[in-house]
Assembly symmetry: C2
Homo-oligomer: 110 residues x 2
């Protein structure tokens, strides 16, 4: 039995700060980050991510940007795909940054 | 005698995280951030910012994005403009974020 496959993603040492910030500098992708912050795997169904107002292809695009920036990893299990945050990898690459971003994203309302 | 003028900028409480990340998710603007990280005021001359390969209008555009995102403040003194980092405002709005970003930007090379 082999492991589930993963979609392409940068290795930890190749995660680039500017690419990461560009990925998170979008309101939909920030919404996704906050969903993934629980550390669990999430299906790609927009309804489960609070993004039911967007087309599935739009959500898929945003997920790809996050994955290619090194923010998330996507596990392929048969016809299903499960996305989760690369917390450990991000903490290794940029210590303290993810926590600071998540704290900022949940800072008191303006 | 009145104070020097400042170009328009968001008040601290209106600094938006996604807008800030979008502003910093660009290699030229990240270069500018690192120049401004010394806390000093900088003229808008691209040559003094390591951006002599770019047209002055391009650099001005990037400076405007940073200012409108709340990253920098621009003081107008006669015909001169001086840009500096809003470190205190950013630390107030998003505690720890700027330090984490600057640490990440100067992390060991990949």
């Amino acid at each position: 039995m082999r492991d589930d496959e993963r979609l392409p993603q940068p290795v930890t040492t190749d995660i680039d700060l500017v690419t990461l910030l560009h990925a998170l500098g979008d309101p939909v992708r920030m919404t996704l980050l906050l969903s993934y912050a629980d550390g669990a795997e999430h299906s790609c169904d927009p309804r489960g991510l609070g993004l039911e107002h967007l087309h599935k292809s739009t959500v898929s695009h945003h997920m790809r940007v996050l994955r290619e920036a090194g923010v998330t990893t996507t596990r392929v299990a048969g016809r299903n795909r499960f996305v989760s945050l690369r917390r450990s990898d991000l903490d290794t690459r940029f210590p303290g940054l993810l926590d600071a971003l998540l704290a900022a994203a949940t800072a008191p309302a303006r």
